[in-house]
Amino acid sequence: MGNNTEDKGLFIISEYLDDYFAECEEHITAVKRHVVSLDPSKKTEKKIIDELLRSFHTIKGLSGMVGFEEAEMLSHSMEDYFKAIRDEKITLSRDAIDNIIEGVKKLEFILAERKEGRPASDIKAFNERLKNLIEDKKIETEKEKKPVEQDTAQLNEDVLSKIKEEIKKKRQIWQFYFSPSNELVNRGINVGVIRTRLSELGEIIYAAPRILEDGGVVFEFIVATDSDESAFLSWRDDGLKWKRYEIAEKIKREKENGGAGEIADSDKFPRISTTNTVRVDLKRLDELMEMVGELVITKARLDDILRGISRYIPEQELDFFEETHMRMGRQLKNLREGIMRIRMVPIGEVFDRMRFVVLDLEREMGKKIHLEIIGENTEIDKLVVERMMDPMLHLVRNAISHGIEKEEERISKGKSKQGNIKLSAHTSGDSVVIEIEDDGRGIDAERIISKAKSKGLINEDFTLSFQERNREILNIICSTGFSTRENADMASGRGLGMTIVKNAIETLGGSLSLETEKDKGTRFIINLPLTLEIVDAFILIAGGQLFAIPQPSVKEVIEIEPEKITIMENNELILYRGEPLPVIRLSRLFNLKENYGQIIYGIIIGRGYNSVAVMVEQVITKREIVIRPITDTLVSVKGIGGATELGDGKPILILNASELLDMAMKR
């Protein structure tokens, strides 16, 4: 099929190119999941090999369709390689798995290059090597007889129920098949044109390109329409074929193909279905979210107006008005949450990547790792998932390269030969907690602290509690240009890594903490907001200026009588639930004019011994705010996490509790 790829490239419109990359990514994700489960010491289930084979087959077909020759070539060879494995011509040895991993990495790499609009790297050498390996085993490259893709894909429940619904509405359901050709393109007819025609005819319920075994492409559409066949009879000459959709037959066929059995299988090997998902550009969701954000602001403005005029409105009307107003508030909240849910994806997407990374690093560093994953179904904002990929990667690499000891060392310490790494995620209130834990040597606190002391990063005469020590270690390893390894190796990168990790997390409004103990291991705890954009926040006044602090980071708001404040050297303390609690004046942290009244408000942030009461002049109200990040270096100051606006066009600064805590401790 290689020689006619160029012609097929003619049909590509950018919309399909986006789909192409998305689909390839999905297949590669699936491939990685399966590759990870390959084990030379056990007999691999044929089903897994078949799945892998099919994924490469699809990537090959798709790549041919978009005229991306390198990917087509490589996935072709990979497909053949798996065929040889399936036919037991090649044994699934450690070497074979290494070849597979290398192939997947190369394929992913050239896809990424293409996506970024760069020419793909040369993969010929690798491809030849793979081919020779297959040749050596004298594999017959006979073509498969039956096409891998049937004439119609198995339709999922959503599509089927949609079809049933349309039938109930007495609409006709038609299946269309469009076979593109050069001749048609010359006449200006491509799949885009056909799609437009069909959407004018009725509603397109389902659309998908399928690859025929000969390398050709057919686009299948299922359309619900009120028109009858006469409306599209003339399209016969435009490369279109059609038939009435038979629902009974379909359902029967699905059953025969083992409805129940299929489900059991997919349970075991979760596969991303490409048919029941709609791919939406995140930008569009952002736009939608922005609109909702504006609605929230408008509603807040309405609240203010209502408050102002309520006394002029007769009671009965006011009740009615307020009720409607409240209902609108609820609906707005639902709308917001609905959009948020669209943006949520399981964190498993990141974890799956880590499986592959672990496998790869095991090989590279000659360490045996057992990876445990917990809570991979925890959902989190798509953007957060994307942004967390690199930081997680870095932490996992660090854990393997620095944390986990070599086998002999582990044995001498009485540990299991295999290093253990645990990735876990769970939801906790309004945040998602991700933990990366290893049972390695732990971070050498003494070494780090003595190095930091010698560099003048911390005071010579520091004695630290366990918690303080952990916090200090984190601060030190996250500061720019700090690395205790003289020869930082490839996997763990240089001293900048942790700084970037911390920044990436904080940019997302999250925080990073650390627990480490010598020879026991290290645990990084990442706290991330579940959703971005909008939170409940307290609006307060300090130094005569309005600020907001997100409610999730506030433990409690208390009233403090000035005479109850005890002064101890440079510190101020109050008694809170029978325990001394340090207080810190926001006006002092921010060098603002103080103007405290008879009652001072204390906002308690932090946890346990790590808490502090932030003193402010007033806490006015609690309300929803739209968070707008502040990114410009001119205004990124510590303690401020973003800005919001309450409907009057005046920006209000949003406090960042964990930074305030940090400032309070450092003072």
């Binding site: 922005e290 504006e294 990063l457 911390i458 601060n475 030190i476 996250c478 500061s479 130094g543 200026q545 942290l589 921010f590 060098n591 603002l592 707008r628 502040i630 410009d632 270096t633 001119l634 205004v635 990124s636 100051v637 510590k638 303690g639 401020i640 800005a643 606006e645 009057d648 066009g649 005046k650 920006p651 209000i652 600064l653 930074e659 940090d662 450092k666």
Partner: protein, 151 residues
């Protein structure tokens, strides 16, 4: 229009009696100064944040940036929003009214002997008749790093 080939449009503004020019391509909007929220612990030439068309934008007092004394805002005070890549920053100036096309050949590199803070931020000096216009290098004006440090 071949005559305009070497001309570029500039927004002119005044600061302490001197006329400055910014390439109009770099300017995204110009507004009267309304509410600015101060940002604590920011450098003193940073006036704070303004909220414009749904965006939160930092505002610089150009007088302070160039080492002059700040003055109270009046009806002539303007905030010029300049855009460089993804970045948008507001420059607060004494007044801004003119929009002119300046031919490339009248812009000369700034004299080496020019001193003071504002000298560092110049791209060139344009002579238009008997007027002297200092052309700003926006990148240099905006270039400031204030990294959040924790150690």
């Amino acid at each position: 229009m071949p005559d305009d080939k070497d001309k570029e449009n500039y927004i002119l503004f005044k600061l302490v009696g001197t006329t400055y020019g910014i390439k109009s391509d770099d300017v995204s909007q110009m507004e009267m100064v309304e509410h600015i929220t101060p940002v604590p612990n920011a450098p003193d030439f940073v006036e704070g944040l303004v909220f414009l068309r749904g965006e939160v934008i930092p505002a610089i007092n150009l007088r302070a940036r160039f080492g002059f004394e700040k003055i109270e805002y009046d009806i002539k005070t303007r905030i010029i929003i300049v855009q460089k890549g993804e970045r948008k920053v507001g420059l607060i100036v004494d007044n801004a009214r003119e929009f002119v096309a300046i031919p490339g050949e009248v812009i000369k590199p700034p004299p080496e002997t020019i001193s003071g803070l504002s000298g560092q931020y110049l791209q060139g000096v344009a002579t238009m008749g008997d007027r002297l216009i200092l052309i700003l290098n926006i990148e240099k004006v905006l270039n400031f790093t204030n990294i959040k440090t924790s150690v």
